[in-house]
């Protein structure tokens, strides 16, 4: 079922790209192509987490990286009711509705036989406990090995060495699973490519400082979640550079929709259909930055590939104590001339939601309007359009009062 879905998505996007060659469409073609390739019989399919696993290591092998969370949670975008039916299947099998809808949906897809084959399942101990556990359960289902890259809470010589040593070991496991030799020079080249893409990404982030920013900005948040799928591959830099070019052209042309409110988006943007975009469009709200969209990780050192990938993990805002996350949020406020900050609270995202008050207190000190927007990423049963409208409109009023 998913195979057909991704295949149709890919051909639809390719048609759209022919008519309107936009970088964002190209990015989504890459996503659909990767998911389609995961069903190829000759592919070595490595299940992973695009947004938290250092993908440069996978780019050093000829494998198809398949993110079960992102892949299955494209479904609610087009068929929210169908997604609920699949989640129901997982709930009937004993999954509590308190478990994240991302993981219930993935579990349901597995039970129904919709997923591609897995040769190895790799994830990370961060962002959340649920993902690492779901990875284990899915590995049991497929009778394959599950590996979680354990990323400690603090940056130290010991923690960098610990994560780097795990990555070295994972490269050995990838050799075993794929039958390919690990090539250190290829990894260095992937890191070099990733650094170039990072620089392009930095240019995008700078353009987002321009007022008015010419987009609603939801891709800014989404890109920070799945853009890393392409890390270590030339196409990532190409797409980012296309985005830079398109943004520049749009800014140069002027004649832009008036931007009334500039906000930062914290945590994730729901893939299921919502009225958020419409409300933002009607009220001149643009998302100019997401907390993971910030260029927080610095250049990777080609001479120390494993250590620099380890550091990339350790610097993630969702690793460590809350100070690491707050530091990033403060930097966004300093750099992006924000009118407000929205924290999307999908209720099973406990590690993120439990920081709401601490974030709120920080923003209060800085006198920045803050909204905690309750909802759910993929489960329409837990999303209320009316409540969202009420909360967002009230928030926009607060921001208007500050103008």
């Amino acid at each position: 079922m998913l195979k057909k879905y991704y295949s149709e998505m890919k051909s639809g996007l390719e048609t759209a790209y022919q008519q309107k060659p936009r970088a964002w469409i190209r990015m989504n073609i890459q996503l659909a192509s990767t998911f389609t390739d995961a069903f190829r019989d000759d592919a070595k399919v490595i299940w992973t987490s695009y947004y938290s696993f250092p993908m440069e290591l996978l780019a050093a092998f000829d494998v198809v990286p398949f993110d079960f969370e992102i892949a299955t949670n494209l479904l609610p975008m087009f068929d929210a009711d169908g997604a609920v039916e699949i989640m129901n299947r997982a709930e009937e099998a004993g999954y509590s509705t308190d478990v994240c809808s991302f993981h219930r949906l993935a579990a349901g897809c597995c039970m129904l036989g919709y997923m591609p084959r897995a040769d190895l399942l790799l994830t990370s101990s961060y962002f959340c406990d649920g993902k690492a556990k779901a990875n284990q359960s899915l590995a049991e289902h497929y009778g394959k090995e599950s590996i979680s890259l354990d990323v400690p809470n603090k940056i130290s010589r010991e923690s960098v060495d610990y994560v780097a040593a795990q990555l070295r070991r994972i490269s050995g496991k990838l050799e075993e699973v794929t039958g390919q030799r690990f090539d250190l020079e290829r990894l260095r080249e992937c890191i070099s490519v990733s650094n170039r893409a990072r620089r392009a990404y930095g240019q995008m982030a700078d353009l987002q400082k321009v007022t008015p920013y010419p987009y609603i900005g939801i891709p800014v948040v989404n890109m920070s979640i799945f853009g890393n799928m392409l890390a270590g591959r030339e196409i990532q830099e190409q797409i980012y550079m296309d985005m830079v070019k398109e943004s520049r052209e749009k800014i140069m042309k002027g004649n832009l929709v008036p931007e009334k409110y500039r906000i930062a988006w914290l945590a994730w943007f729901p893939p299921q259909p919502t009225n958020i975009t419409q409300i933002f469009r009607e009220n001149g709200v643009t998302i100019v930055m997401g907390e993971l969209a910030r260029n927080y990780w610095g250049e990777l050192d080609e001479g120390l590939p494993f250590e620099s990938l380890a550091l990339w993990c350790l610097k993630n805002p969702y690793v460590g104590t809350i100070e690491q996350r707050l530091k990033g949020i403060n930097e966004i406020i300093d750099e992006y001339k924000l009118d407000g900050v929205v924290h999307f609270s999908t209720d099973a995202c406990r590690h993120s939601c439990a920081a709401q008050k601490m974030i709120g207190d920080t923003l209060k000190e800085r006198d920045v309007p803050y909204l905690v927007l309750d909802g759910d990423m993929s489960d329409k049963r837990k999303y209320s359009a009316d409540r969202t409208q009420l909360l967002l409109e009230n928030f926009i009023e607060v921001m208007a009062g500050r103008k």
């Binding site: 099998a93 406990d129 284990q136 809470n153 010991e158 104590t321 709401q356 008050k357 207190d361």
Partner: protein, 352 residues
Amino acid sequence: MQYQGDKIGYFCSMVPVEIITSAGLKPVRVKGKAGMTAAADAYLYPNMCPYIKSLFTDALEGGDAAFDGLVFARSCDGMRRLYDAWKAYIPSKFTYMLEAPKNVDDLAVAYYASQLRDFAVQMGKASGSEVTGPALEEAIRAANKARGMMRDLYSLQKRTPLPVSGSELFNLGLQTLYGDENDAAGRMSSIYKKAAKRDGPGRGRKKIRIMISGNVMDRPDVFQIIENVGAEVPVADLCTASRYFERTVDEHGSDPFVSLAAAYLDEPRCSRTAAPAEIYARISDKIKQFAIDGVLLTALKFCDQQLNDIPYLVRRLSADGTPVLFVENDYVFSDRDRVRTRVEAFVEMLER
């Protein structure tokens, strides 16, 4: 800052009590507040683990005053946020976050050992009493002995009928974790002597034998509910019951920190690190050893680690023909009447 007292609270069974003891301090597992946790909802999040919320509610009401320092561990997402909130909103004397790895292999053991060395240095600085090799070795021996006594008692529970009631044994274990260990040691010894004398099969009707498996539980409610309906609990696979006492630290290793790291990471594990198949294998083994008739699986509400394992465990155990009752709990079992009804029905079904 040095402690004015000697009581160190800790929140997770991943914290090696031996290091605290060898710094001349007294480790006590922290218990959450029974009852409403609305105060914590305002600081954390309503859909958070009720154990975490109970701990924080208690701290907001001054409960942490009973401790001279607190040790957290990177147990789970909830515990990480508890540490953050504690530092932000509770004026504490001393807090320490222990970096417990979430993997179990040689790399994790080496990393954990490095973190335990730092923990020992910090404990020594705080207490003014440096953790020395001999002191740590002595603490390891003493803790092994105490856990061994409880393990011996649990091994007697393979008998029918039980020499010691499940709730009595559970309470005794809690006493070693939360109360006076010296008194507990005396009681353990006395109970063991009496129980061991009752050699061979006892008299009386065989009761339904239920095993409890889950995570943290520090009140005997469920044990009592099971016993009150005429069944018994020979073994409880909890981090506050038999699972905790199964841990043995190598007393003859070349590096005590490595021995501690290995023992604390590799001994019977909860859903935090263990894959569901490993937990299933352990439960299956206990079912055989303790002649279990049915398993009561329980998970803290909103515990993502355990809730993700439940479907697998229920499916595998049921496929083996083991009756399973799953009960989600809010840490204090505030819905104990509902639990009682379900347990009664479960036991009735097992008796048929």
